[in-house]
Amino acid sequence: MVRNSLGRWIPETFNGKALIPYRDPFALQPQGMRASRPLTRVNPGASKVLGSLREAIEASGLRDGMCISTHHSLRNGDVLLGQLVREIDALGIRGITIASSSIHPVHAELIPYIEKGVIAGLECGVNGLIGEQISRGLLKCPVVVRTHGGRARALVSGQVPVDVAFIAAPACDEYGNLSGSSGPAACGSLGYAQVDAEHARVVVAVTDNLRPYPVAPLSVPQTLVDYVVCVPTLGDPKKIVSTTTRITTDPVGLQIAQYAARVIEVSGLLRAGFSFQTGSGGISLAVANHVRTLMRANRIQGSFGCGGITGYFVDMLEEGLFQTLFDVQCFDLKAVESIGRNLNHVEISADMYANPFNAGAVVNRLDAVILGATEIDTRFNVNVNTESNGYLLHNTGGHSDTAAGAKLAIIVAPSMRGRLPIIRDELTTITTPGDTVDVVVTERGIAVNERHADLKRELLRCNLPVKDIGQIQAEITRITGRPRPLEFSDDVVGLIEYRDGSIIDVVRRIAD
């Protein structure tokens, strides 16, 4: 065990691999070359179309102990991963590692296959029941949680070699050109899958919408796709767009949003060329709405909006408030519809979005980002992975990437949730280091990281309720009391990998 720079105890190895403890957000330098995939040749007249998923698995050469991936652009509506694992099981293949871009509650259907040994490890974060069961020791399956940029880095660098990528393709032709913007399972950007297509040893496009050659515009080109398989359905379109995409009506949330928007305004970043990212939560959208009003009122033409894209950002693009949207993932149908027709709504890969080990990701160009938290400590470190019960329930997404990249990373969170204080002495899990978090906004006050004395002064001058983070914590705990700390065993069941591949924290099994 060694302590990383944030004071977390990190084992020397996990699942047979040596670990690098986290030190700081920017110093770790990459070594070596970008990973690639084997050369191949498809001669004129050859067909890529196979009759079934099973045939594709066989053709891909998948064997015991190999690694597969899928993308999570269909989110909780995805049925492909479940189908694949059932077929893999039926073929008698065991010990598979899953390196999908994320796993959602719907994938709780994988639990029996983890128990049975079909799945031996998860090289990706999990949302929902699988994480809970792993945290409770009910399920044994080593899990490595990565940021979106960190996952791209892991594939691009060869840290996680994917043997077969199965790409759910909402529209695809028989030669493997595929697109996410049309079809019954249209999900818009396929930014995560683009990385897999470039780096997996074998790439299989799986579609429920085989269209005449050629499908265009392209998310992934034919040159990267080895096989094409038709299935009856990729998923339930109603659940594909499952995230909250409405502005909150909760007065506390609206108060937080108003403070956050004022912080952006006072920061001086809201000028011509402004770039911005928010998530899809109700508070984030309320901040976006304030920002939009301010941009309109002051006739500010922004540069780009980025990230998971919602209809709010589409409206801002169409209104001329942004020049471009960089879209790695569409959060609602309006975004899906826009990416198919608006040339300034640009599909980008997760590599371009957030990989720290390339010649510069889009997150590096962000002015402001609005992010959430399950817990925050007084050093501004943030947890988004585990809840107060210690269960690993949420994936990191782009949290640490955008916090590191943006000039102003603002965490918005209600001061208490379910009677528990949001600001803690010690986090259950550290996801994003406080060195990359600039401002924490709760309804009970705004805390500014001490690196930004100027911003703090300016916010105070504008009569905003700026307080020391410890003072906000004291105010909250005066109401809630201090929760009893959770008890964990020594067993490490998962890793929280920082975007550069170092280990920022681990997930331990909850004590019995």
Binding site: L254, Q255, Q258, R444, R478
Partner: protein
């Protein structure tokens, strides 16, 4: 200068809802009215009282005016309400159904007794009478003057229209005369006038229109039913940049006039004299209270030094 106590927004908070009471410190209304009357069901009257008392005891760093809407004094709960909450030192009482000056005077006497009992300054607890019936509107002139504790009149349109057996509309023609009379009564007595609630929480444009109307009529603020309404009302009451700039020019002009030994001067072809200066000072004081300007304003500017 006399600091202007802004009462643009008085937010109702139900007295029996812990989750809402605990958020009182964070909302940006100028004041709150913690309700023990209509918002609290009969079965929870005593629980609400205890809760409000506990909340106020814990709310040490008061950052807004706290009023309690008690049950009417002729109900069986009104006096118990006072007994329960006054030791926690709210700023005042919103008195429902203040139809006559006698009702307000009765509360005044009770408050004096409680102040003596608690050993605190006489006159500390203020009164905000609710003018919410035809009788109340008719008596509002006397009500406004019947006690030193009365700092404003609050118009209650919902009960008022009910007492007249008419519908309340969003355009509010039916309220015009009553509103104007309440404002006259308040202004003649040198106190503030607070308008009724706007019940449709989803209709921000309707709220904005009504607030613009009541501001033009002379109300100094509004009672609110939802925190989401605060921002709109504050926006309407905030002086516009042009108004502030003009007011600053007026003050500058009158100071120049005084230096020349006169009380009247022309600014952009319009005469500037005491009433104009008075209005300009009011704009500047409001602007200062909104943190829009950062200067001290002295009433001396109006008439000059003796």
């Amino acid at each position: 200068m006399s600091a202007l106590q802004l009462r643009r927004t008085l937010l109702y908070v139900p007295g029996n809802m812990p989750s809402m009471l605990q958020n009182i410190p964070i909302f940006q209304s100028d004041g709150v009215i913690i309700d023990l009357e209509d918002a609290v069901p009969l079965s929870e009257k005593d629980a609400g009282r205890i809760l409000v008392r506990r909340f106020l005891d814990a709310y040490a760093q008061r950052n807004k005016e706290i009023l309690i809407r008690i049950n009417p004094l002729d109900s069986k709960w009104g006096i118990e309400d006072l007994r329960a909450v006054l030791p926690a030192l709210p700023d005042g009482i919103r008195l429902p159904k203040a139809d006559t000056p006698e009702i307000v005077e009765r509360l005044d006497t009770l408050l004096t007794e409680f102040e003596e009992e608690l050993g605190i300054e006489i006159g500390r607890f203020k009164i905000l009478p609710s003018i919410e019936s035809a009788a109340g509107v008719i008596n509002s002139i006397k009500i406004a003057r019947c006690s030193q504790r009365v700092f404003a009149l609050a118009f209650g349109a919902e009960d008022y229209t009910a007492s007249l057996e008419i519908e309340r509309t969003k355009t509010g023609e039916e309220l015009f005369h009553a509103r104007t009379r309440v404002i006259w009564a308040a202004r003649a007595a040198g106190i503030q006038a607070i308008d009724s609630i706007f019940a449709d929480v989803g209709d921000m444009e309707g709220l904005r229109r009504e607030t613009e109307l009541i501001k033009r009529l002379g109300f100094t603020g509004k009672s609110l039913v939802n925190p989401r309404q605060i921002e709109v009302v504050h926006e309407v009451f905030a002086p516009k940049r042009e108004e502030i700039d003009y007011a600053l020019q007026v003050v500058e002009a009158i100071q120049k006039a005084r230096a020349m030994g006169t009380g009247v001067i022309s600014l952009g072809g319009k005469m500037v004299d005491a009433p104009v200066v008075k209005r300009a000072l009011r704009v500047l004081k409001t602007a200062r209270a909104h943190h829009l300007i950062d200067m001290d304003i002295d009433d001396e500017v109006i008439y000059g030094q003796e």
